[in-house]
């Protein structure tokens, strides 16, 4: 099991909880599992193509990750809005 943490509006949509213990061997599997547990998150992190939205960053144990990044038991996965704007 890995720990996925979310914040801001994602936390509210995820049952008002920041940390979620989930099964999965890639970042994409974990994010799908999170959506499965909290359907209101559908479309907020992953788009219709199954891609992480452009201005969302995912870190695995502090290293930048992407959809196919492998995840092991005990890993920490953080989902963060990117620094962006204008």
């Amino acid at each position: 099991m890995a720990i996925v943490s979310v914040r801001g509006p994602l936390r509210k949509l995820a049952g008002a909880r920041a940390e979620h213990e989930l099964e999965g061997v890639t970042v994409l599997e974990l994010l799908r599992a999170l959506e499965g547990r909290h359907p209101d998150l559908g479309g907020w992190v992953l788009d219709e193509r199954g891609l992480i939205r452009r201005h969302i960053n995912v870190y695995v144990n502090g290293e930048r990750g992407e959809e196919a990044t492998p995840v092991r038991d005990g890993d920490r996965v953080e989902v963060l809005p990117a620094i962006t704007g204008g």
Partner: protein, 357 residues
């Protein structure tokens, strides 16, 4: 008392008032988020807002309470999963003719339908599965479906415009669609490309005259057109007194099928009001002649941009009220069919959309 529902780069604003005596901002919602379009369903009073968070993607939210009440996220607003594109933005929301029906147009050239007042949506498969879709070309703002014209009293007839995939018409409730681009003359294409129906037809805005639904007006990317056959073919009416045939906003007076209002911009390479003056141009003869209406509007060093969804009206005939907003955050209004104008608000965020009630 009129209400303005204003979508901006930094949130939704509601204003109430009269053009003569001024408007007050009553509400701001979705602070910090781009609200690309917002409106009410006039049948129910429900407020709907198309919000595109730069982080979390495009959504439609709705509320039946006051705008400070809880907003619900609408369901189903997505492209089919597993494809090679994602929904980029919702450009417009329009009430349909059937009870509870609403339409939403978005990028990439997609039409959604709701039959429960906007709580849930489904993609219009007929338009989505057009065989020519792989050849559709986006305009500068994306492949945006921005204009939705219903046919009063007939829910099966609908016209939509996509920049730059042109006009699409249905007479069977959206099951099948045909193009409606005959007569359009894109000056930005080489002559040899005009025969290619997939070459870009960059329609900027379309409105239908409700009392004579076969009459439509179009602001094109270089050209102003009128259709008298429900959007099947188009006649150029962009000459004469107009300072430019380029622009985006277009309105009509519902009482008069010969009426149209434009806010021209200089050109595609200089998208500001011509000569540093803000003027609305009116025709009352189907586009044969145009007259400038600028009394009360900025007349010196005013280089404004008015976007396609930022011009709207309420009422009709002599009581026609017209309203528009600019990307410089100003709102203007007229309560005498454009004869005179006043400034209603300044220093708002850039105005993306305005709908009046």
């Amino acid at each position: 008392m009129s209400e303005l529902v204003v979508g901006t780069k930094k949130g939704l604003f509601l204003l109430e008032g009269e053009p003569n005596s001024g408007f007050d901002i009553t509400t701001r919602a979705f602070a910090g988020d781009p609200v690309d379009f917002a409106t009410r369903d006039p049948r129910t009073g429900r407020l709907l807002a198309a919000v595109t968070s730069p982080f979390y993607g495009p959504k439609i939210f709705y509320t039946d309470g006051g705008p400070e009440a809880e907003w619900e996220q609408a369901e189903g607003l997505a492209l089919p999963e597993g494809g090679d594109s994602a929904l980029e933005r919702i450009w417009v929301i329009a009430p349909g003719e059937a009870d509870g029906t609403l339409y939403a147009g978005g990028d990439p050239g997609v039409l959604f339908e709701s039959h429960d007042g906007g709580a849930s949506w489904e993609i219009n498969a007929g338009l989505w599965e057009q065989p020519s879709r792989p050849h559709w070309q986006p305009g500068g703002g994306g492949l945006c479906l921005h204009s939705i014209s219903t046919w009063p009293g007939d829910p099966d007839r609908l016209a939509v415009a996509v920049s730059a995939a042109g006009m699409w018409l249905t007479e069977d409730g959206g099951r099948t669609w045909r193009r409606g681009n005959e007569g359009l003359n894109p000056g930005y294409l080489p002559e040899e490309a005009l025969a290619d129906e997939n070459a870009g037809r960059c329609v900027h805005h379309v409105e239908r005259a409700p009392r004579q639904p076969s009459r439509m007006f179009m602001q094109f990317h270089g050209g102003v057109y009128r259709s008298d056959d429900a959007g099947g073919s188009w006649t150029d009416i962009g000459g004469g007194e107009l300072p430019s045939d380029f622009g985006f906003p277009l309105m009509i007076d519902p009482a008069d099928p010969d009426s149209a209002y434009l806010i021209p911009l200089v050109a595609d390479m200089d998208r500001v009001t011509p000569d540093g003056r803000v003027r609305v141009y009116e025709t009352r003869d189907g586009g044969s002649t145009w007259a400038a209406r600028g009394d009360g509007l900025p007349a010196q060093h005013a280089y404004l941009t008015v976007l396609r969804q930022a011009f709207n009206r309420v009422g009709e005939g002599p009581e026609l009220e017209l309203y528009f907003g600019s990307t410089s955050g100003e709102l203007f209004g007229s309560c005498d069919a454009g004869a005179s104008w006043s400034t209603l608000a300044t220093r708002l965020p850039p105005v993306f959309s305005l709908v009046a009630f």
